[in-house]
Symmetry: C2
Amino acid sequence: MAKPVTISLDGMGGDNAPAIVIDGAARALKKYPSAHFVIFGDEAQIRPLVDRHPQLAAASTLRHTPDRVTSEDKPAMALRQGRQSSMRLAIDAVANAEADAVVSAGNTGALMAMAKFSLKVMPGIDRPAICTYMPTKIPGHGAVFLDLGANVECDPQNLLEFAVLGGVFSREVFKIDAPKIGLLNIGSEAMKGTDLVKGAAELLDKAKLPGRYVGYAEGDEIMAGHFDVIITDGFTGNVALKTIEGTAKALGSMVKQAFKGSLLMKLGMLLALPGLIVALPALIALKKRADPRYYNGASLLGLKGLCIKSHGGTDAIGFANAIGVAIDLAGNQFNRKVEAELERLGHGQPVIAAVEGAA
Amino acid sequence: MAKPVTISLDGMGGDNAPAIVIDGAARALKKYPSAHFVIFGDEAQIRPLVDRHPQLAAASTLRHTPDRVTSEDKPAMALRQGRQSSMRLAIDAVANAEADAVVSAGNTGALMAMAKFSLKVMPGIDRPAICTYMPTKIPGHGAVFLDLGANVECDPQNLLEFAVLGGVFSREVFKIDAPKIGLLNIGSEAMKGTDLVKGAAELLDKAKLPGRYVGYAEGDEIMAGHFDVIITDGFTGNVALKTIEGTAKALGSMVKQAFKGSLLMKLGMLLALPGLIVALPALIALKKRADPRYYNGASLLGLKGLCIKSHGGTDAIGFANAIGVAIDLAGNQFNRKVEAELERLGHGQPVIAAVEGAA
């Protein structure tokens, strides 16, 4: 992480922009003091926010853009009419090699459309994928999970490419030498699953991957820590990701209701207060471990430039984490490593041959 | 629930059979005192267990079967060679109208194969589906969820049939007059999703369902309580169901690790003990609400007889809950209600016409 990186930021994207973008960048700068930022957006709004953080002011360049993409804009419309938007110009900064990666909390569809158009798909990759990592039962371990919705209909070759992208992600970001790669399915036996899954398993078995293809992973193994990378089509991945969010929210809501609904619970917690205060650091660590803000930042992988999507509703902590993902990927030269993997696999190997066939 | 029902039990199915089957039946009998059981299995093992519960002994008939299906048996093999197994004879008791429903914690594949063969698919239904219900944020509310894995590849017509089965389930078991039915997808806009989802949405929009088709539901809405019924193909449903289980387990595991790993946490909890004891009833109620045993019992719907699959690893509490599902469905004459819905919809309506076309 020694090499300084430049991150371009869509200052106007997200529910609470530009405040969370600027506060998030200031926060990220504390962790990555050599980072530089190019911030795109409405200067009148952004300048006073940046000025509150002298360190950030020194480490960032502000570019005024009068235009912005809203959450209601259709991707095709944003692509045509948003050429001067903060989102588009922040992406273009990566295309122009002014920045190493872009981070935006704005409209996902517009970001994907603009990023594909401006950054272009990497040679050897048929379809870019959205990738994130999930906390698992193993402390400090993250399971790389893709595709999360970029491609609702996939073919086996797409899933093979996802395995390459996810494998390099796990190796470069989590420093796992030979990531264990699993294919999401509804059972562990070879005969189980859809034609897509069975076709992908056949390709994965033969391919030389950046990691080891272990076999099928079931839904309850995403967070179990058995796998370092879990690949699936964008429909299933998106449903699974949102199901994880929904389950955590529903359980949290049940806990809150139990506290609100019961007098005995309230009394008990009052009596327990001294103990809870003693346990506070451990309770905070626990909350942090399951806090989605610390897993914020979905990477759009397979493009010639790095593009990170932050959750639209996140706060400064979450946005700082998304910036961290961008810095990790850029600092580790993720795209060069993927290119090297594709090239290494390409000499007469099924990966490139099939990619070319599918393209 | 006034009408007494007879439930046939596969006494030998499940990791902890026959003990959990017998103890589960005894427990269910306390809640449903007019129920009768026909228990199939090894008499030498089962008789002493039943005799420990005089009430159950009086309310049950024991049928000795020397044979059993194991968890390793392939479905086709079990179907051919398991004609004298406890699982098969318990199913046959429903086919012979000796029992109103069957409950088994045994091999899922074998149970489905045998149930389809022995009970036969209901006229007007192309494919039976596996259905369960999930707790939601709304206290006392269950979201009916299907298909959970019976059909990995579906067509839009199958999903329409699942809406009929799920709608009647919600109405009869949860007494919801006009269940809100959602179709699992990766966004709420009409253009989102796979061809399967868009095709199903078109059918659902036109069909007169036992409930109201509301539109797309996302993964984070399964447990949110916005929907009474959520339908999807068996691949996505199985992944989502297991993802819910896995998320709950991973979060539980993080809590346990926080307690075990931190001295301050242990000390704090010790100090908090008096308060925790006061709050105990509320804490137990909370645990119960999220306890999967209280949602155990997946129904194989769309057959001419009722068949309930209990989780293989459950205990007596979980097995009793599965029996409860069987009694609820049988007591409410679930299958007759489904037939009536199919008939009502069938007169020139797209449901039956398309079913016949697809068959």
